[in-house]
């Protein structure tokens, strides 16, 4: 166990270097000259302007030179300057990361709650109609493209019914809460801005539900499977025999034991959430990493593409590592061997 974790930890920096290298190389071999995203059409024929831009953005240097400079700067936290926003990429990402995390955490929260409820119901009424409906609901969530379900819920709940606000993180007229954590919910609370907090929460509901729906299936499947596992075990049968009500058995004994594996599965859902967040942010004009990545990819904003790919890769690596470790920790065989040795 420990050697496994140590080995994974040692591999991390190497993988990270690989991620950086691949991301950097990819943008070097682009089909279009990045200058077209820096200089306007009118000045493309002006050699003085083209020369000045090449020099200013370091495009006149060779690939190895640029790579080494980039690595050197990266160590100091400098990821270059975005062609598009003209701000340091690291600064752009710092401002946007909390927006994405807030959305992803809210989605995970909603997805987990729904997933657990569905999983418990499905296990309780196994193979019955409720089981099948729960399964269908989860599968549809995993199959529906979020860029379409997002449009659909916007159209229904915001345009037609007017129950919830449309795109954005906060009411347009409200001033964003002063930056402390970058999480608008937390910052609004810290500032004691109740109206702002309410607005932020309401703005979160639609995108977080759409995004959360995609992981409902993963969670409910896990809960259902482990509940069935637990329910068939002896102490549950014993509890039942002692006269504990079915609901009490379900919640108190079975669900509690099913929660641990469920928590670890959430790590796996991170990949889904990253994918989903990129598309959800586009639909909901959410100023997070996802919409930043899309704008960068569309606009050939190389420093931003490299930056966002590195950050995404790093986040993915870390979450995979944590998940694997957590999984190893709760794996029954591992647990058994630990108990034996202690």
């Amino acid at each position: 166990m420990t050697t496994y974790i140590v080995r994974r930890l040692i591999a991390m920096p190497l993988l990270l270097l690989g991620v950086i290298t691949v991301a950097f190389l990819l943008t070097y071999f682009t089909a279009a000259d990045p200058l077209t995203s820096i200089i306007g059409e009118r000045q493309m024929n002006n050699p003085a302007v083209v020369e000045a831009a090449r020099e200013r953005w370091g495009l006149d240097r060779s690939l190895p030179e640029r790579y080494l400079i980039y690595l050197g700067n990266l160590v100091t936290g400098d990821m270059g300057t975005s062609f598009r926003t003209r701000q340091p990429v690291a600064q752009d990402l710092m401002v946007r990361l909390p927006a994405t995390l807030e959305l992803v955490i809210a989605a995970m929260f909603l997805g987990t709650i729904f997933g657990v409820v569905l999983g418990v119901l499905a296990a309780r009424f196994r193979d019955g109609p409720i089981d099948n409906i729960a399964r269908l609901f989860a599968l549809v969530g995993a199959s529906a493209p979020v860029f379409w379900s997002g449009l659909l819920v916007l159209f229904i709940f915001s345009v037609q019914l007017g129950w919830l606000p449309g795109p954005g993180r906060i009411d347009t007229r409200a001033v964003a809460p002063p930056f402390v954590t970058g999480f608008y919910t937390v910052d609004a609370l810290l500032a004691g801005d109740w109206a702002g907090f309410r607005s932020v929460l309401l703005h979160l509901v639609l995108p977080a539900s759409v995004l959360g729906w995609t992981v409902t299936g993963i969670v409910s499947r896990m809960v259902r499977a482990s509940m069935l596992d637990v329910l068939s075990q002896e102490y549950i049968l014993a509890a039942r025999a002692k006269g504990a009500g079915p609901l009490r058995v379900l919640i108190h004994h079975a669900l509690r034991n099913a929660m641990l594996p469920t928590l670890t599965i959430l790590g796996f859902s991170f990949a889904y959430l990253i994918t989903g967040a990129i598309l959800t942010e586009t639909i909901f004009s959410w100023p997070g990493i996802g919409s930043y990545a899309v704008a960068a990819a569309r606009g050939l904003d190389h420093p931003a593409i490299v930056g966002v790919t590195i950050v995404g890769g790093a986040a993915f690596l870390i979450s995979n590592l944590l998940t694997d470790i957590a999984y190893a920790l709760v794996d029954p065989r591992v647990k058994l061997s630990q108990q034996e040795s202690s």
Partner: protein, 526 residues
């Protein structure tokens, strides 16, 4: 205990209700929904439509474009004179003018601004083309010497990109104006968080892809603007903008297209349609790979085969105007130009005389872009159907705009579509971009970087004269040039889309301006 919690909850809810209730309307920020798409907020690097709005509200030029969109009015300069041959311009600065930090606007700021604009070698630098030297005989006088005549120079000075910057403040924050400015200047990031002009507003905050927030300039030397705080909220598409307008989340929506406007049906919202100076054109490049059959006669024939009115109906639902030459309607020299004409018989006749009655095939690329409400791919598909009537088949390959810009230079694209919006009020910019003068953007690209000779000698001569002329004589010369540009049949304008101004009816003073898009300081609440 329970009551305690309930009281707290109720108190919280009450506070929320009070805060979210209708605050005093005049104190509320004005919200404008718009796709931000800002390339920079550094006045001498910025070059975008939103930049025009931003710069013209936070900075001021020596002169400004009047509300008639034609004449030039005093702004920081109270008066100006030029010598006989349009090579020397003298400006007297307003003694009252101050920057947002309270310091006076002086001749040294003007000199510094012009030099930085020129030396940064960025997108708007061409506005200082031909400036030889700048003299500052005293604190309130500026003399600009040109290398050659330029009758439009004063007009150019009304462009938002030539707004005068507080040179002391900017220099302290890394801005340079010297000849090495293009590599030495470090101020672009600073300009994203600060403005240093004398305009009615100052920059409050800018968050890319989120919002651009203005607050009123406390030290403004003119009449204070009606609205104290303005937010341009980033809303990418027309439908979302319209939705925000209807729900009251926005006061003005700037990019609502005719299709979307037709779905808005509310007494609270005013929708105005005004002609714009933007236009969409198609162009022929006989020097491009696969474009060798496109000689003047064939270009003429294909221009006859286009259904211009149909294209306007099709792309912008009829909300657009025909445009004769690459100089937009209303600019100097455009009065009375012959509008493009659809004439299938003539088209067929010309093609037959060339032995091309069975047509030919053109493989073309077009940028997949939606500009000013026109989808370029969609427009190309319409023209594809038009040209099929004279047996000319075009295969359309839509590509990213950046890819298109590479291809148009090399290997060239025989036939494609593009757009243009004015950078200032004046016709010279169009001749310098579209004219068949040596080394203009389109002379280079249409000729395949010189593979075929497209240079039009009379355009060259007429333009020389136009730059040295003024008043009616200048208008007459640009008219002549426009006629020559029509005859070239390289650039064929298809539609000048109308602009839709959609705003809540309690808002007043919303106006489209040729230089500055939307003059923010004129907007108020009824």
């Amino acid at each position: 205990m329970r009551t305690g919690i309930r009281t707290i909850l109720l108190a919280g809810a009450g506070a929320a209700a009070i805060l979210s209730g209708p605050a005093a309307a005049q104190d509320q920020p004005l919200v404008i929904a718009r796709n931000l798409e800002i390339n920079s907020l550094d006045p001498h690097r910025a070059f975008c439509d939103t930049c025009q709005i931003y710069l013209s509200s936070t900075y001021q030029g020596l002169v400004k474009l009047a509300a008639d969109d034609r004449s030039v009015e005093p702004l920081l300069a109270t008066e100006w004179t030029s010598n006989e041959d349009q090579t020397q311009f003298t400006f007297k600065l307003d003694p009252d003018a101050v920057f947002s930090d309270g310091s006076p606007v002086e001749a040294k700021d003007v000199k510094w601004t012009f030099e930085r604009l020129k030396n940064l070698q960025a997108d708007p630098s061409f506005m200082m083309n031909g400036v030889a030297s700048i003299e500052t005989p005293d604190e309130k006088t500026v003399i600009v010497n040109m290398e050659s005549p330029n009758s439009e120079f004063v007009g150019i000075l009304a462009a938002p990109y030539v707004g005068i910057v507080n040179s002391d403040v900017a220099s302290e924050n890394g801005a340079m104006a010297g000849e090495d400015a293009s590599s030495a200047d470090q101020a672009e990031t600073w300009f994203l968080a600060n403005s240093a002009g004398s305009g009615p507003y100052v920059l409050d905050t800018y968050r890319p892809d989120d919002e651009l927030r203005f607050r009123v300039n406390e030290n403004y030397w003119g009449d204070a603007p009606p609205i104290g705080e303005i937010v341009i909220d980033h809303v990418a598409d027309a439908v979302s903008q319209a939705q925000m307008l209807q729900s009251g989340g926005a006061d003005i929506a700037m990019q609502v297209d005719p299709d979307t406007a037709s779905t808005i049906n509310s007494p609270d919202i005013t929708i105005e349609t005004v002609p714009s100076y933007n236009f969409i054109y198609v162009m022929f490049s006989p020097g491009a790979e696969g474009g060798d059959m496109l000689d003047l006669e064939v270009r003429q024939a294909l221009a006859y085969a286009i259904d211009y009115q149909g294209a306007i109906d099709f792309t912008v639902g009829g909300e657009g105007e025909l445009q004769a030459s690459p100089i937009p309607n209303g600019f100097p020299g455009t009065e009375g130009l012959p509008m493009p004409e659809e004439n299938l018989d003539k088209a067929r006749e010309i093609l037959a005389s060339k032995g091309l009655e069975d047509g030919f095939t053109l493989d073309i690329t077009v940028a997949s872009l939606n500009v000013y409400g026109v989808d370029l791919t969609l427009l190309m598909q319409k023209i594809q159907q038009d040209l099929a009537r004279v047996n000319v088949k075009i295969n359309i390959q839509p590509v990213a705009s950046a890819v298109w810009r590479e291809q148009i230079a090399n290997p060239g694209i025989p036939f494609s579509a593009r757009f243009y919006a004015p950078d200032y009020y004046g016709s010279a910019q169009y001749v310098q971009f579209f004219g068949m003068l040596p080394d203009t953007y389109w002379e280079r690209n249409a000729s395949g970087q010189g593979k075929v000779d497209l240079v039009n000698k009379s355009e060259v001569d007429l333009f020389q004269q136009a730059l040295a002329a003024s008043g009616d004589e200048m208008n007459r010369l640009y008219h002549e040039i426009a006629l020559e540009m029509i005859k070239d049949r390289i650039i064929v304008p298809v539609v000048s889309p109308n602009l839709i101004l959609a705003y809540r009816s309690e808002i007043e003073g919303v106006r489209y301006s040729a230089c500055c898009n939307l003059p923010l300081a004129e907007i108020g609440r009824k």
